[in-house]
Subunit: 339 residues, 2 copies
């Protein structure tokens, strides 16, 4: 057993898109768990778009990562040493380990994993992204059979969950994804009825025409997690009493992709005249629904009725590059770092 | 009894703010009510901001007024001749008479008024504007005692209803109004805790500072019926889980008041990180709540627990000028035309 640990820290706050120099690899002595704590060796780390928000020093739903502190994040790992009731060496657990090879956490902040499922599912399809899709679709999307759903970033871990759940409930599902390969995945792997490559469209008008063709009855639910061009394209296609669960705006993180003209009045007019319900939500408010989610979805994952994809980067030191690539849309499935 | 009637028609579609030339006064022979119809002599006509939307040939929640057709609108009047069961000459009724001296309407489209209240209240405090405030506050604003409410266009018939109802439920109420006189009315007549003159602030940043001072605990409900500068000012002050019922966007009708910079990403970010609930609604979807509204509010109006103001223009021929002035914020209370 190594007597040092590695962690990736926030070296400086990014200007726009993060670059490798914004991160730093630090080494520390391996910590010793205090009373009630557990020492975990991280085997899998989750990379998620929300982490980009934590790098800014802006008021948000969670405090920013301090400069020099370990990047925040959920990990899965093996218990090396336990001073907490209910955990023993060898257990597979998950918790907010951060981007680190090891973590000392209170037992109350860890959850033991069902050994019958691959441990990395706890970070994706059965973790925060899966829960986000499940809660958001049911609580804010309010899907009804026969309606039409458009999902941005449709092959991602959230979007693919939303699409599959909606399809199973009898909705027409339309994927927006970047590139032909992701579009193929959307229809063939995740069962979307149609997929549109946003990269094949230079502007919102052109993209809108393609979506309109795929959604002849208009759009009842727009799963909004990108902002930018896709939002602008979809808004005028929304049906009366449509719903827009807002769980991200990756297209606008860092201030990029801002259209030259002011789209706000047109957007607001749509909210008004179509009586839309636009609901911002943050999954951290909804962890109470986690048991219900797991009860519903874990059997479906085991039975392959809900499928999922993972992109795996190898080694903690490669987490920053994998994160940067993910924000640029370079990944296909749930981005995991295997340590 | 005159054998002709007058009506104001839509002569052309306005470019931006309406001008007198967009309207035309027409004269016709007095119609004869068919079987089931009632001939009404209009005594009071309602002017409302939504009518601006009907002048455009744009897809909206209601069909546009055709060129040459009578401007749409609710009126109160006396029955001259009835061929419908339940109505007789001399009854006071209300219905969608349009901007006209007389109207022939099916009895089923008319409602007899309670003679104990002034007939014009059916157009304002106990009509569509009052119902809009009541439904919107309760169903979409979801007010809780101790919260802070900001109301745009606060002395108008909708805003003043919202402010008074919220105050009676224990909220801190902040009025946004145009000019010192309206601010005085907001606090002295309608009981708002504070009033801010948006004309005293050149930009959203300055207005925001004033609102922030009046709302030290942030804003839980923003009653949005203007769009433009006020919306931009309030958005960053919204508290987590705040609600924004959207029932109008008068500041953007006709495309005026559009900021130079694109505010959309910032706005959307607020919806996300504050988990806001932005709900467009149109009162025409909620007429089923009218009896409950009337039961609740009519006694309060009679007891002066809910007060209201009316601006009265004289003569149908002056309706266009009164409408134009109202859109420019020239009125104080509910705008009525007395025929």
């Amino acid at each position: 057993m190594s007597d040092t640990m590695s962690r990736i820290t926030l070296a400086r706050r990014p200007e726009g898109a993060p670059v490798p120099e914004d991160f730093k690899l630090a080494k520390d002595p391996l910590p010793t768990p205090a009373e009630g704590e557990v020492l975990v060796e991280v085997t899998h780390l989750s990379l998620d778009p929300y982490m980009r928000g934590r790098m800014d020093d802006a008021k948000s739903y969670a405090p920013p990562v301090d400069l020099g502190a370990t990047m925040t994040g959920q990990g899965v790992g093996r218990v090396l040493q336990s001073n907490a009731d209910g955990f023993e060496a060898g257990d597979t657990v998950t918790g907010m380990t951060g981007w680190a090879s090891h973590a000392c956490l209170p037992g109350s902040d860890l959850r033991k994993l069902d050994p019958s499922l691959p441990p990395s599912t706890a970070l994706g399809v059965l973790g925060m992204p899966g829960l986000t899709g499940w809660v958001g679709l049911h609580s804010f999307g309010k899907p009804k059979a026969g309606e039409t759903l458009v999902v941005a970033a449709a092959t991602g871990p959230v979007g693919s969950m939303v699409g599959q759940l909606a399809k199973q409930r009898g909705l027409r599902t339309i994927a927006i994804a970047g590139g032909a390969e992701k579009c193929r995945l959307a229809t063939e792997t995740f069962g979307f009825d149609a997929a549109i490559d946003h990269r094949a469209h230079d502007d919102a008008t052109s993209l809108r025409a393609a979506i309109a063709e795929a959604a002849p009855d208009g759009v009842d639910i727009y799963w909004e997690n990108v902002g930018g061009k896709v939002l602008e394209a979809v808004m005028p296609l929304m049906n009366v009493h449509g719903r827009i669960p807002v769980c991200g705006m990756i297209g606008w993180y860092g201030g990029s992709n801002i259209a030259e003209t002011n789209q706000l009045p047109a957007m607001w007019r749509n909210i008004l005249v179509k009586r839309l319900e636009v609901s911002g939500f943050i999954i951290f408010d909804h962890w109470d629904q986690y048991p219900a989610f797991l009860k519903d979805v874990a059997p479906k994952v085991a039975a392959q009725e809900i499928v999922h994809l993972e992109d795996v980067a190898e080694g903690l030191e490669n987490a920053p590059d994998a994160f940067i690539a993910m924000l640029e849309g370079g990944n296909t499935g749930k981005q995991i770092v295997k340590l």
